[in-house]
Symmetry: C2
């Protein structure tokens, strides 16, 4: 708990909720009759409405991207490194909107909320939503907030995928598309990791076919395993070596199955804390959303064709040690954009931190990001 | 089932068992009062005893390295690609010994065998054995078989670690040390993957603290998850792309959690079949053996010093797309050997197959391996 909040933080923020009663047609064929979206905003929308920025979150993110919910809050929002006064996404200049995506577990309609008109949790019956569905729901929130276009949409990882989808589906509504540590689609290896995570959750006896909330249980073991596995793929081999090496917790081998190496201790801790704050059905949904994302699919598997409708200026950033969504994947996006004759800048940041780098205040990254956003802010009317 | 056995197979083989009643002191401080070792042999030991070769198996391997157990056998031994008449490990020239390591589950004493003098399974009480312990038990088998020295000891992955340990602990007993797709020690990332696998098994309610055999259960879900995860790390991103890509099993998205992508189907199959043939406690033990291996630890973390006692000629082979034990790890072994002024050849094979490459008949690999073994066979007296 900070005694006083850091001066470069947006400070105390609150989550708001918006109810939508216009049905939302989903890609899977189902319709959400009504739903809620939880969101936060930082900064002020200017009179011309020309300084609005949308932040899109990744797998385990939510609407709380920056600031603190109270003075007692131990941790700030997940992208505190990049959002705030004087930071790349400078809240003195921009009006920032961040929402919890549909299917999430932090206030937006999802498996851990009640099904409209009933007293039952959606649970496993919440439909599988796609990046396209999210973009549609984000576009509706935009309208309600009175925003006509986004000066920029920004996201890392699964968030970057939403940015790409926006640029394709609502080209007139987005001026700058900032795609960080993302991929045009998951590889077989990515899908394989997601599948192991899903199997871990679904095979947990406490999963109860997804109806665990009604049974007052949580698939704790499965969700913990999923998170532990996820964490390995967020870090690089090098960063794990630097962080943990082969350090033994008690300085010696114990010849037993309790925690021995520091890395084991770290992973178990990550797994345990995640269970307290995340919903297993949401985890399943989000991994499927990731697996399904493939905007080229409907365009003869040609990403350049898929992106042909885009009019935004693109900024693509990748990190050298990211093996979950490697620089090669970002370069595929860049190549497709060039082929489609779009405006694109690309920076490959030398960083040891693996996929997690996109959340970290790495100087080169912050510099590049800051400079780009400075230029963007020059377009505020 | 082959109607006739392939001419380059060793043909029908049988597993034998040897009982040892001289206690074996283990690194953990415990002692095995007596134990059995299951093993197979291929080819004939010559009169001078100068053509003996020891094969060391990896995590999920066993004594059945080549040939078929019966005409009805659907699959040959795990290293059929390299062992047999005319193959790199040519059974017309060499006498090949392959054993199931202590703690294994294919006939050697381990968690799924009865504790001597009791009617109870060892289960979780089987001590954690190290690579050093294995080498000691292999050395005893060698003596009983009347072999004075090994012309070569050969192993891939965890098998390669045993080869290194032999060269350090029994330098006079090994003339050629062939270390394939191995590592001088696990990285934090390697340990992390092992830890997730262990947690998957140990958190399975059917694990029953390791006493599942007495309770007539199997930690099926946990072992399946461990194997699925393992498989991802055995394959390369590229080989998965080539093998599965983003192919959908039914040609379309189903918006559900059943198998959709081919890679999911493959992984689930691998997981299911593994449960039928492998013991969960053995899996736990073997991953610990891997985590613990670090011959440099007792030598001021200097691998060259650890290897200073070795007198063998070394052949080290790695595979470009192997990210579990990458070429970088093999080069660390090679550098240490050079620093220690040992004889060493090193080949980095261009291969897309990831860690699994060491089991495959990749032409460049087979050529290199074959040529080296031809030279080795020239030393038969």
């Amino acid at each position: 708990m900070p005694d006083t909040l850091p001066p470069d933080s947006v400070g105390i923020v609150e989550s708001k909720s918006m109810h939508f009663d216009k049905p939302l047609q989903l890609e899977c064929g189902k319709t959400l009759p009504e739903y809620d979206i939880a969101y936060e905003t930082y900064g002020e929308l200017n009179d011309s409405g020309s300084n609005a920025i949308l932040i899109c979150h990744a797998l385990s993110g939510d609407q709380h991207a920056a600031g603190y919910h109270s003075m007692e809050d131990r941790k700030p929002g997940w992208w505190e490194s990049s959002i705030g006064p004087g930071k790349p996404i400078d809240t003195r200049r921009f009006f920032v909107v961040s929402m919890n995506n549909l299917g999430g577990c932090k206030g937006s309609s999802g498996p851990n909320t009640k099904r409209p008109g009933t007293d039952k949790y959606w649970g496993p019956d919440f439909p599988i939503v796609t990046v396209k569905d999210w973009v549609n729901s984000q576009q509706r929130l935009m309208q309600v907030l009175g925003i006509e276009h986004w000066l920029a949409i920004i996201g890392g990882s699964l968030g970057g995928m939403q940015v790409m989808q926006w640029s394709i589906d609502y080209p007139d509504a987005i001026r700058h598309a900032i795609v960080i540590a993302a991929s045009p689609k998951l590889t077989a290896q990515n899908i394989a990791f997601n599948e192991v995570a899903r199997q871990a959750i679904m095979s947990d006896p406490d999963f109860n076919h997804g109806h665990y909330l009604e049974k007052n249980t949580i698939p704790r073991r499965g969700l913990m395993l999923a998170r532990m596995l996820g964490h390995i793929t967020y870090l690089s081999d090098d960063s794990m070596r630097e962080k943990f090496g082969r350090e033994l917790r008690e300085g010696k081998l114990n010849f037993g199955f309790d925690v021995e190496f520091q890395v084991e201790s770290y992973l178990r801790y990550q797994g345990h804390t995640f269970v307290e704050r995340f919903d297993a059905n949401t985890y399943l949904l989000m991994t499927k959303t990731l697996d399904y994302f493939d905007p080229a699919r409907d365009h003869g598997d040609d990403l350049a064709t898929a992106l042909s409708s885009a009019t935004a200026n693109f900024m693509v950033i990748s990190f050298t040690s990211d093996w979950r969504f490697s620089p090669q994947r970002s370069r595929e996006i860049v190549k497709a954009l060039i082929k489609a004759k779009k405006q694109v800048s690309y920076v490959e940041v030398e960083a040891q931190h693996g996929h997690d780098a996109f959340l970290m205040p790495i100087p080169h990254y912050m510099n590049v990001f800051h400079n780009y956003m400075q230029n963007v802010s020059g377009e505020i009317e």
